[in-house]
Amino acid sequence: MAARVFRGEAIIMNPADSTLFNLNETATAIWLAADGRTALRSIVERDILPAFHVDREDALRDAGQFAEDLARHAILTLRTEPEAE
């Protein structure tokens, strides 16, 4: 995977299927915060709601869809438990 964050927005290329993702600022913030240990809900509450002033339910729904989309292309891995340290 190749990625570049510039002026708050990420470009991600998955070499396996040549899919190019062009993320907006909100999606970039989620992607950058995905550390394998923090729950998506916590990322939204900690990083998205205060910074982007969006509705909580909308933000959680959009974040879930975004994460699933990236997971389908092996850009993110979705887990029910935190990654071991």
């Binding site: 190749a2 570049r4 510039f6 002026r7 470009i11 290329m13 070499p15 396996a16 040549s18 062009n22």
Partner: protein, 368 residues
């Protein structure tokens, strides 16, 4: 990709950078436009620093080419550094030096794509172009190793007089190998100005046949249709991404808008890459040019659909002028002469068309 490119242009980012790591080569292709004896290549350290600057400036798509890149002993160190800086990497190689170990390393480093030149499925034809006996067999062995390692391989077939009938054989071979396929009937003038190799360009009738091949161009009727009306949006358009969101860097550090546009905008040994990108007067001039500023092309009916290459125009005499190779292409494609072709003194160029034709997903585009 187009919207990303547009955003990069608006933001002034060098989104795509092509670096020739060396002009040395272990083949001697008859159509090659490079000077293989050029010394004084950028060192590993200089290249690492350059990659750091490029990453800082927002560059993302990195093409490493040559010459033959595997002649550099530090190639994997350079790729490794580029991957650490997050680049999406494409390699261009003849693959003669790729064995199992190299294929595995390329895969491990997450290189996106390896583009390999194949001129014919017939060894005698391919080897006569590379001037290296046995080169096709070796190249095909390497392609199999790369594919076995899961690497995305693109087989690029430059078409010229000696291999004009070769594309179908190479296309089906690419399909069997699980590789993407492109053809490129473009011969580029020598980087030092010699235009004699342009005589290798395929004849007009052969080009017409390519333009009428559905597996290459998709919808033939749409592809060969007459150009639409010219409006302000077209006249305010920029020629291509060269110098706007992409650039080329030679093995000794010269920065050009594109490999086919050898106008020196600076040298990374004397100035920081980003200073050249942001402040070079030459880049500034390239970026200022709109279609309406082109004295001949702005009055041409093809201006909105022509793949006019500003680099080929530059090598022909002026970056504001027509690229007669592209005039020829527009004419062959549509049957309608360009404005340049109607001018007094116009003669059909020894240079042929500028076009790249992708095989797996039919599309035709100008380069750059």
């Amino acid at each position: 990709m187009e919207s990303l490119n547009r955003r990069a242009m608006d933001m002034g980012l060098p989104l795509s950078v092509h670096i020739d790591l060396t002009w040395r080569c272990n083949e001697r292709c008859i159509h090659c436009y490079l000077d293989h004896d050029d010394p004084d290549e950028l060192s590993t350290g200089e290249l690492r620093d350059l990659l750091d600057q490029m990453a800082e400036g927002g560059a993302f798509f990195l093409t490493l080419s040559g010459g033959e890149i595997f002649l550099r002993k530090d190639l994997f160190a350079i790729i490794e550094h580029a991957r650490l800086r997050g680049f999406d990497i494409k390699l261009k190689t003849n693959a003669l030096l790729i064995g199992q170990k190299e294929a595995a390393r390329i895969a491990a480093l997450g290189v996106h794509q390896v583009q390999i030149s194949v001129y014919s499925h017939v060894p005698e034809v391919h080897d006569a172009i590379t001037k290296v006996p046995g080169s096709l067999v070796k190249t095909l062995q390497a392609i199999r190793l790369l594919r076995a390692a899961g690497i995305h391989v693109v087989i690029a077939c430059v078409l010229m007089k000696p291999n004009v009938g070769a594309f179908e054989g190479v296309q089906s071979m690419a399909h069997e190998l699980g590789a993407e396929f492109t053809i490129d009937p473009t011969i580029t003038p020598h980087i030092l100005g010699d235009r004699s190799i342009l005589d290798l360009n395929i004849e007009r009738e052969e080009l017409r046949k390519l333009f009428e091949t559905e597996s290459l161009v998709g919808d033939v009727e749409a592809f060969t249709a007459a150009p639409g009306p010219v409006d302000d949006e077209i006249l305010d358009g920029t020629p291509c991404s060269a110098g706007h969101s992409s650039c080329y860097i030679s093995p000794h550090g010269d920065v050009y808008p594109c490999v086919q546009f050898p106008m020196t905008c600076g040298n990374v040994r004397h100035e920081r890459f980003l200073d050249i990108w942001n402040t070079s007067e030459a880049f500034g001039e390239v970026r200022s040019i709109r279609a309406r500023d082109l004295p001949v092309c702005s009055s041409c009916g093809h201006v909105g659909s022509c793949s006019r290459c500003p680099g080929l125009a530059y090598m022909e005499g002026s970056m504001y002028g027509p690229s007669s190779a592209d005039c020829e292409k527009s004419f062959v494609r549509t049957g309608i002469p360009s404005a340049n072709m109607g001018r007094a003194g116009y003669s059909r160029p020894g240079s042929g068309p500028l076009v790249q034709i992708a095989g797996m997903a039919p599309a035709v585009s100008a380069c750059g």
